[in-house]
Amino acid sequence: MSLSAKDKAAVRDLWSKVSGKADDIGNDALSRMLVVYPQTKTYFSHWKDLSPGSAPVRKHGKTVMGGVAEAVSKIDDLTSGLLNLSELHAFQLRVDPANFKILSHNILVVLAAMFPNDFTPEAHVAMDKFLSALALALAEKYR
């Protein structure tokens, strides 16, 4: 299920419309993940405050969306483009890759809530494919 030229164009198009709110998207998506999937909190036991919109959540949402932005710019070769991030997740963070799907779902929910007119079915499928490809690239170095 690789990204077609049409998918890449749709992702770039949507990203150009939403990237201005990347920080808010990251904050909202991460907040939702921690509330709707409480098992994900286990990765953040070192944070003082795990509530939606808290300072550490805001900060980390920004970091995560920075990664997504980088992935958009490297959409033509995610695997090699995201090697460093993959090593980080594989050897240091050791996030179970099942959680990538969970965060991706919440990013899609936030995009729908914040940009209901731009998040068309075509944009939805392209974004879902892109986030899946991103997750795969992130898991590249795991084993």
């Binding site: 909202d28 921690l34 509330v35 709707v36 929910v109 809530a113 209901p116 079915p121 499928v125």
Partner: protein
């Protein structure tokens, strides 16, 4: 026996009472068929599903989306007894329709996205948690009679 908090009960009732079944039903099923095209395998008799525009405009998709939502409404009206409420529907999906139960989750995810688009910021993280818990229980009940 599923335990529901007052907040969860109120949230689910709120969402279904204010839902436009025509719009949400059509949008959810259409998105499912577009975003997860392999789900089209169950709708061979629905005519033109050739591309996103065709799916969005297909009247059979719109009608069936509403049928699915009415089914979920049954669960919303019987939150303390979803398992029994869905016993016959479960047999139907397993024995007659032969639907792979993994597809229930895919449709559920699309429904969550559509509800989020409808409600915007009002679909808070806590509301989303309640809604997804409800869907998980409905899906689990729908899977129960598969063997």
């Amino acid at each position: 026996m599923v335990e529901w908090t007052e907040f969860e009960r109120a949230t689910i009732q709120d969402i279904f009472t204010n839902m436009n079944y025509d719009v949400v039903g059509q949008q959810s099923l259409a998105r499912c068929l577009i975003v997860y095209p392999w789900t089209q395998r169950y709708f061979g008799k629905f005519g033109n599903l050739y591309n996103a525009a065709a799916i969005m405009g297909n009247p059979m998709v719109a009608a069936h989306g509403k049928v699915v939502l009415r089914g979920l409404e049954k669960a919303a009206k019987n939150m303390d007894n979803i398992k029994a409420t869905y016993a016959d529907l479960s047999v139907l999906h397993s024995e007659k329709l032969h639907v792979d139960p993994d597809n229930f989750r895919l449709l559920g995810d699309c429904l969550t996205v559509v509800v989020a688009a409808q409600l915007g910021a009002a679909f808070t993280p806590e509301a989303q948690a309640a809604f997804q818990k409800f869907l998980a229980v409905a899906i689990s009940s729908l899977r129960r009679q598969y063997h």
